[in-house]
C-alpha cells in the first residue's frame, strides 16, 4: 500500500449529524483536521463539542443519513472505538481504580497483544514522558495520587499506544490554575515533539487560544467559525464568536452610502464608518464588533475627526494593573467597555473618573463587520 499523501487530512467530518431524540446535538458539520495539528473544539456547554469528540472516538455514531466521519481517509462511521487507533484522555481521567499506575498504563499494550517482554520498558518510558518517575509511582494505586498526577497517568496510558490521534475531553478542568498553565504548555510540547494530532475539547477560550493551531468554535451543534486563534480573535464572523472569544462592543446601523473605500453607517447612537465589505449593501443593516483594546477614549471636544466616536458617560473605571477598563454608558443606555493600556507614568493619576463625559473612539478600519448568527 502506498503511503498516504502528506497533505491528506487525518480527520474529515462530512456533513455529520447526530441527534438525541428531537435534539440535534451535532447538526450538519463539516471540518478537516490536519495531521499533527493541535485542534480545539471550543464552545459553551451543550454546543455539541463533546458529541463531536465522541463521534470521532466511536462512542457515538452519526445518524443513519448523518454524513461520514473519516480517519486517515477511511470511513469509520461504524467502527468501534477499539478499531480506531485513537487515544483518549477523559474529563474525570477514568483511571482504573483497581489497577496500579503501571498496570493502568500497561492495559492498552496488553489489549493490543504487545509482547510481554516489551511492556515494562514501554510503560516506564511513557511515565517518564509525562514526567512521573516510574520507580516512585509505578506501584502506586490511583487513590494515592493527586489530581494532577492522575491526569499524567491518563495521558501516559493514552500515549503509550502511540495513537495517530489523541482526544482530550476538558482534561484540565479539575486542576488548579497554576498547574493548569503548566500542563497547557506541556501538552502543546508533547503535540509537537510526538507528531500526534491532538483534538482538544474545552469551554475555556483562553486555553484554546494558548494551545491550538486551529480552533473550531461551536454553537448549537454547528461550527460557528473555524480558524487560527488570531483569525478568530481578530475577525470573528458572528456576534456569538465575538462574544465567546474575548470581549466585544457591538454597534448597529443602516448602511447609508459609500465614501471612498468606506461605508457610512447611520445608527441610533450616531454615525460611523466601516471599511469596505462585500457583504454590505446600501439600505441594509450593518452589525459590527469592536474589541475594547481597539478603542480609545477622548474628551468629547477633543475627538479626532478621522476616528469614529460615540458620546457617553463613564459609569465605572476598573484598574487591572496591565490595563484599565473604562465602562461608558452610551446614549441608549448600553455599556461600552474601553481597555486602556497602562503606559506608565502617563496614566497616573488616573485621567478618568466616574461621571465624566467622554467619547469612545476607534479608527474605521479597526472593527469587524458581522454576519447573522
Amino acid at each position: 500500500m502506498a503511503a498516504p499523501p502528506p497533505d491528506q487530512p487525518i480527520v474529515q467530518f462530512t456533513r455529520v449529524s447526530r441527534s438525541f431524540g428531537a435534539v440535534k446535538a451535532v447538526n450538519d458539520i463539516s471540518l478537516e483536521i490536519r495531521r499533527g495539528e493541535f485542534f480545539s473544539l471550543l464552545g459553551p456547554s451543550g454546543c455539541g463539542k463533546t458529541t463531536t469528540l465522541r463521534l470521532l472516538a466511536g462512542f457515538e455514531q452519526p445518524d443513519p443519513d448523518g454524513g461520514e466521519v473519516r480517519i486517515a481517509g477511511e470511513v469509520v462511521n461504524h467502527r468501534r472505538p477499539y478499531e480506531r487507533q485513537i487515544g483518549m484522555v477523559f474529563q474525570n481521567y477514568a483511571i482504573f481504580p483497581h489497577l496500579s499506575v503501571e498496570k493502568n498504563v500497561a492495559f492498552g499494550l496488553e489489549q493490543h497483544k504487545v509482547p510481554r517482554a516489551e511492556i515494562p520498558g514501554r510503560v516506564a518510558k511513557a511515565l517518564e514522558m509525562v514526567r512521573l518517575d516510574p520507580r516512585t509511582f509505578g506501584l502506586r494505586m490511583p487513590d494515592q495520587l493527586s489530581g494532577g498526577q492522575r491526569q499524567r497517568v491518563a495521558l501516559a496510558r493514552a500515549l503509550v499506544l502511540r495513537p495517530a490521534i489523541l482526544l482530550l475531553d476538558e482534561p484540565l478542568g479539575a486542576i488548579d490554575l497554576k498547574l493548569r498553565k503548566e500542563m497547557q504548555l506541556e501538552l502543546k510540547q508533547l503535540n509537537k515533539s510526538l507528531g500526534i494530532t491532538f483534538v482538544y475539547v474545552t469551554h475555556d477560550q483562553e486555553e484554546a487560544l494558548t494551545m491550538s493551531d486551529r480552533i473550531a468554535v461551536m454553537d448549537n451543534g454547528r461550527v460557528a467559525q473555524l480558524g487560527t486563534p488570531a483569525e478568530i480573535y481578530e475577525n470573528p464572523r458572528t456576534a456569538f464568536v465575538a462574544k465567546f472569544i474575548g470581549e466585544s462592543n457591538f454597534f448597529e446601523g443602516k448602511v447609508y452610502g459609500c465614501a471612498g473605500n468606506q461605508w457610512e453607517i447611520r445608527g441610533p447612537l450616531g454615525n460611523f464608518r466601516v471599511p469596505g465589505d462585500a457583504r454590505l449593501t446600501e439600505g441594509g443593516v450593518a452589525r459590527i464588533a469592536v474589541r475594547p483594546e481597539w478603542m480609545d477614549l477622548f474628551r468629547p471636544e477633543a475627538l479626532p475627526p478621522e476616528e469614529n466616536g460615540l458620546e457617553g458617560t463613564i459609569r465605572e473605571v476598573i484598574y487591572l494593573g496591565e490595563t484599565m477598563h473604562v465602562i461608558v454608558t452610551l446614549a441608549d443606555g448600553a455599556d461600552c467597555t474601553v481597555a486602556l493600556r497602562n503606559e506608565g507614568q502617563l496614566i497616573k493619576p488616573l485621567p478618568w473618573s466616574r461621571g465624566d463625559r467622554a467619547a469612545v473612539a476607534w479608527p474605521p478600519e479597526d472593527c469587524q463587520v458581522l454576519e447573522e448568527d
Binding site: 466511536g58 472505538p81 477499539y82 489497577l99 496500579s100
Partner: protein, 296 residues
Amino acid sequence: MAGVRQRVLGLMHRRAELRAWALLAPGTFWLLLFFLVPILIMFVYSLMPRGVYGGVEPGFTLEHYRRFFNPLYLQILNRTFVWSIAATLICLLMGYPVAYLIAQSGKWKNLLMFLVVLPFWTSFLVRTFAMIFLLRDTGFINTLLLQAGLIRQPIEMLYTPFAVMTGLVYGFLPFMVLPIYASLEKLDVSLLEAAEVLGARPAARFFRVTLPLSLPGVVAGCLLVFIPSLGSFLTSDLLGGAKQVMIGNLIQNQFSAARNWPFGSAASFIVMALVLAAVVVYLRVRDRSMAGPGLR
C-alpha cells in the same frame, strides 16, 4: 491560656465521645441482651450433660462435641456444604446477568429492582408451600407435561435434591442480585469507555474492568446466599422430606423433637466455627485473586 484551651478542647472531645456512646447504646444493648447472652447460654449448655427430660444437668462434658463426629452427622454436614456451595454458584450465575441487565436498563431500573424484591412481600413459608404445589406429582408442572402428552408418568421432583436446590436458589436469589446490582450501578461508564478506547473488546472489557470492579458486590452476594443456605432448614424440610436432611434440620430436631439441647448447641457451634473458617478462607482467596500491584 493554653490550659483553658486544652480543657475546652478536652470537654468538646468528651462531648463528641458521649454522643457517640448515646447513639450506640440502644443497638449495643439489644445485641448484648438478645444475641450475645443466648449464644453464651448455648455455649454453656453445649458443655453440660443432658438432662433426663430435656434441659441440662450440672457438670462439664465434651461428649456432645465428640458425638457430632459420627459418619451419619458428618454426611449430613458434607451434604449441607455441597448444597450451599452449589446454591451459591447457581445464584451467582443466574443473578449476575440479571443485576448486570438491570443496572443498564436506565429509567426501568427502579421498577425492575422492585420486581426483584417483590417476593419478600409474602412470607418465605407460604412461598415454599407454593413450591410444593408446583413440584409434586399432581402439581402444576407434571399436570401440564402430562396433558401435553410429553410424558406418560409424572416426573418425581418433590422430595429430591433437585427440589431442595430449586427452593434454595429461589429463596436466596434476590440476596445475590441486590449487592451485585449496587456495585454495578455505581460503576463509572467512562471506565468502560476508557477500556474500549484502549483496545478492549467487549469480553476483555468485562473480565478486566466490569467484573473486578463489581467483585465487592459478588463477595457480599455470595456470603448473603451461602451463610443462610448453610443454616436453612425450612426448605429442606418442606421440599426435601425425610431423605434430604440438612444440618439445620438436625439442629432444629435436637431442640424440638429429640429434646437434646446440649447436642443441638454443640452442633450449632461446630457449624458456626465452620462458617467462620469458610468465610475467612473465601476472603483470603478473593484478596489474592484481586489484581494486585506489580507488572512482573
